[in-house]
Amino acid sequence: MSAPLPPDSVDRRIMRATQRGLPLVARPYHAIAADLGITAAEVMARINAMLAQGAIRRIAAVPNHFALGYRANGMTVWDVADERIDELGRLIGALEFVSHCYRRPRRPPIWPYNLFAMVHGKERADVEEKAKRIGAILGDAARAHEILYSTRILKKTGLRLAG
């Protein structure tokens, strides 16, 4: 991806008009255009440009995992030897059942883990089985791990522009 470009004022107005969601009407881009006082062609051109640039990842429906029956949402966290984490992180991130995989700082003593791999399952047993497979790949490079299950979604809105 190229260097970040701050959105100009029209892009920002489009972002603000759609951050709560795309209008559920037959011509949603026309509806946005009417609100902003610009043409639908300009709204669509700017949205396409933001898609191409990466400012919009995609236009999509975001499912509620719990509502879909993926009741077990396990954040598996591991304390992995620093000299091996990048090599092993790439292997873990490539697993089809890992949706997100990141290296983050440890915050001792409260937080000793530096590798995060998010695993979703219908049941906790599914998540535990998948965590075992991650553990087998990490081997003795991982000194400790835990699985943090989410018990409630408290908020899920995505990015909001301030002001």
Partner: protein, 139 residues
């Protein structure tokens, strides 16, 4: 829902195009989307903005919230526009939220504001490397 996780078209009548691809009428797709948003099956439908691609930042944060203060702290944290997601997790660090800001330096500002408003320490865990983002859930 599966069809709409991949990418929604940018056309004059995008619902008509998306509906046609799955053998549905435009009006039915719009009605069903509205119903799934209302009943919580979908948390959102629309453009997914990437804070980093517009020069902003994300930061995962965790807090250890006493049980008897949990609801009050949820209200304070959720009221902040910078908080994009917030989950309760079964762990001594029981509240996990993601800050998304338009500029990287605003992460620290938001962390300080949450600490001041709640009187609790925020453990900030910014991403140092990303190994993959992929999977979509089959509905």
């Amino acid at each position: 829902m599966n069809a709409l996780q991949a990418g929604f078209p940018v056309l004059a009548r995008p619902y008509a195009a998306a509906a046609k691809a799955i053998g549905m009428a435009e009006a039915e797709l719009i009605t069903r989307l509205g119903r799934m948003l209302d009943d919580g099956t979908l948390t959102r439908f629309g453009p997914m903005f990437d804070a980093e691609a517009i020069g902003g930042a994300f930061c995962l944060c965790a807090m250890q919230v006493p049980a008897d203060r949990f609801d009050g702290v949820v209200a304070i944290v959720n009221a902040m526009p910078e908080v994009a997601h917030n989950y309760e997790r079964a762990h001594p660090l029981n509240m996990w939220f993601v800050l998304a800001t338009e500029r990287p330096e605003l992460i620290d500002v938001a962390v300080a504001r949450i600490e001041r408003a709640t009187g609790l320490a925020v453990v900030a865990l910014p991403k140092e490397a990303e190994y993959f983002i992929g999977l979509r859930l089959a509905a």
